[in-house]
Amino acid sequence: MNKRKIGALSLAVVMGLSVFATACGSKSSEAKKKQITVAMTSTFAGTFNPVLYEDQYDAYVLNFTFDSLWAQDEKVETTIPVLAESWKETPNKDGATIKLKKDLKWHDGKPLTIDDVIFTWEFIANKDYQGPRFDYVESIKGARAMKDGKATKLEGVKKVDDQTVEVTFEKPDARDISTKLWSIPIPKHIWESKLGSIKNAVNDPATTKKVVGSGPFKVKDFKAGQYVLVEKFKEHHKQAKLDNIVLKVVQPDVAIAALQKGEIDMLASVPMAEVDKVKTFSNVEIKETPDFGYQYLGFKTKNPVVSDKNLRRAIAYAINRQALVDGLMGGRATLLSQAIAPVSYYYDQKLDASYIYSADKAKETLAAAGYKDVNGDGFVEDKAGKPLVVNLDYPVGNPVREKSAPLIKADIEKAGIKVNLRKPRDFKSHSEFVERDDTDVHMWLMGWGTDTDPDQSGAYKSDAPFNYSRWGAGTDSDKLIDAQKFDPKALASKEGRKELLSQWSKLFQDESPVVFLYSMNQIDAKSKRVLNAQFDWHGYVEHPAFTEWDVKE
């Protein structure tokens, strides 16, 4: 065959196939199954095991495929029984009795009993366990000993019968039971024989391909980088109305069009810039809720440039946060005055009155602390009379935060403090600069996503690695953070705990190691084709009542 023939032939083949393919394009898959598609804007890591996963997108899959003992209601309180029939904490919160429902089943048909729950706690406490969940069993008596290899059983766990277990905690602990106790069991009959190889559990087929869960849906198919298909589990104690849910990876730029087109039925976290457009789609409902994460401006309190709390307080007054929320987010965010989510019971509204935007107040605060404009350039010098320039670092990736950086600089400069807005870095680089206390980092922008419990140990204990401000030593901060967990007052009532948290927040406000900027609302969209989807602080996609979801025929 000569070249021309080959060329002509291959051209013909391509043309032919393209036409053929187009012709088949409208062919609908056999359908009749009730199926919806949920868009994921990033790929899955593919670790479908609740005690091992680390990727946020894997968590979406686990939400459908593994049941927890309980779920949280619209007031963020753990009241909804799922696997558990009931649970009760001891009056001084040093223990709990948990009773499971009867006739629960794993996806392979084996019964799910309290042994699985106990096994899961011991799996996490095992010295060879390699996953990030130890914090969730640490409160159980004897967990530390087991992790250190000094025990093979959890001292504080007592099986009563096949449905019931009694747990004793290391010490009385005021945190929510869902925070201090791991609540999503993994199947003992699958993992027991693999205890010797826990280190490879992440790569075990039981984690990746042959997942045995307990949720209303089971993992049917996983195509790396593309989608996860979950299918209704017919023996579940709560029957889902849908047959299939597809969690499909869609590029964020394309997701909005796909939503309008009806190719996807749900989208979590609609970008701020697209909200108004999505609102015009006749086939889509969009809702928003305050979120648990927040954005902040941090200060390196050990760095001499910003070590004076009066300078930090002045900056807190200087930033017009309401203008950021209105201008950049169309009001779709909540101002916050403390590290606690505004939807939480523990959020103290009384503290909102401090740090109302006022450039004058900022200037007064500066002057009173001895910051004066010596050389007449419009900016204050430091207390020794040397020029004061405060660096501001920020990462790229969150468009709203990127746009806020120059506005924050302008606000602070209006109050008379010279700001050097440094070139933005990608998120991973930025967080390393902040984490290693680079001496050029004075102020920075970042955000935290937080758990539903208001415990602040992870972010603000003085020795916590994530306490990037390096603040707290020499103050009552650590004492108060411990008190809201362990103090008798906190143990006695939620009101008592709230009071202690407020005391801490007040101290925090006074010292201002961080300026809380805003909490961006979480905005979810769903197609009108999907019925019975409830919405609260969980959003649509992660709402625990997903078994009710249905579609119009």
Binding site: S10, N203, Y227, V254, S429, E432, G458
Partner: protein, 320 residues
């Protein structure tokens, strides 16, 4: 010939070592902690420290390099920081998709560029030639992410001819020929996006090459002998003009394995390009290293293949 190939392959080894050292150093210089997400203050620090030891990140970079090199030489690509899975199997899952996309794009490129380039060269400075040249420049300068979005908007969103993303219909249950057609149906848009840019440059290349051959003495001689235009074109002009394409083909083979980072991402096409972007964002060093080394090796081999093919199609070239 065999000697030549062996010499070339051996020559690649120091080259690859050098490439790997440069890559490794560059990756080390980029700041960012691959293990901490830095998104939730309740992350388990003890666990992160444990992983750091497990992955050898607590060791000196030089020691880390030698460990990596030793494993790589024995075919062990390491463990992904992100998924904790074997890098080899992560790549294995995706390489087929990338090859499928790349080959389809190449076929489209060749089947459009070669005829168009010849047509253009046969009527130089005609309206047709100017149109082809103009379009080539447009195609060449079109950013692929924009073209991709445009194609999705036009052919998926508006016309509904092709799917927006993915490699296959979810839960379709297709088998055999139906499955192949479904795959082709999904690959057309991303392949076309890739092909547009290379088609543009190939067309220019073919045109120049054919015009060059037509101006040669042997072509004039052939015409002088009284041969028909058809025969002259086929036997004298095209044979000579298309030889340089073989070189390009070899180079393309290498580039093909690198994946099409932007195109694959826009179409959520799970190939090596998408994996590469994910791994860079997550500082997943073992994956970045493995993919970069594979691409480098492929480019080197692509060059070798081009040189060998050259000897076959052009009798004047001989390798000792």
């Amino acid at each position: 010939m065999a000697k030549y190939i062996i010499r070339r392959v051996l020559g690649m080894i120091p080259m690859l070592i050098l490439i790997s050292i440069i890559l490794f150093t560059m990756i080390q210089l980029v700041p960012g902690d691959p293990l901490s997400q830095g998104l939730n203050p309740n992350e388990d620090q003890e666990y992160i420290e444990k992983l750091r030891v497990e992955f050898g990140l607590d060791k000196h970079p030089v020691e880390q390099y030698f460990l990596w090199a030793k494993n790589f030489a024995t075919g062990d690509l390491g463990i992904s920081f992100r998924t904790k899975g074997e890098v080899a199997s992560e790549i294995g899952d995706r390489v087929g998709n990338t090859v499928f996309l790349g080959v389809t794009a190449l076929i489209i490129t060749y089947s459009i560029a070669v005829p168009l380039g010849i047509l253009s060269a046969n009527r130089p400075y005609s309206k047709l030639d100017y149109t082809v040249t103009g379009l080539s420049f447009v195609g060449y300068s079109f950013p692929s992410f924009f073209l991709g979005l445009l194609l999705i908007f036009g052919f998926s969103f508006q016309l509904d001819w092709f799917p927006m993303n993915g490699t296959e219909t979810v839960a379709s249950g297709y088998e055999g020929l139906d499955y192949l057609i479904d795959r082709l149906h999904h690959v057309v848009l991303p392949a076309f996006t890739l092909a547009v840019i290379s088609t543009a440059s190939y067309t220019r290349y073919v045109r120049a090459s054919v015009m060059d051959a037509k101006a040669q003495d042997f072509t004039r001689t052939a015409f002088a002998k009284g041969l028909s235009t058809k025969v002259v074109m086929r036997k004298h002009v095209l044979r000579n003009a298309l030889i340089p394409l073989v070189t390009l083909f070899g180079l393309d083979l290498g580039a093909l394995l690198g994946g099409a980072i932007i195109t694959e991402t826009i179409f959520t096409y799970p190939g090596l390009g998408q994996l590469f972007l994910d791994s860079v964002a997550n500082r997943d060093y073992p994956v970045i290293m493995a993919l970069s080394m594979i691409t480098s090796t492929a480019v080197l081999f692509g060059n070798l293949i081009a040189d060998i093919l050259y000897a076959f199609v052009d009798p004047r070239i001989k390798y000792e």
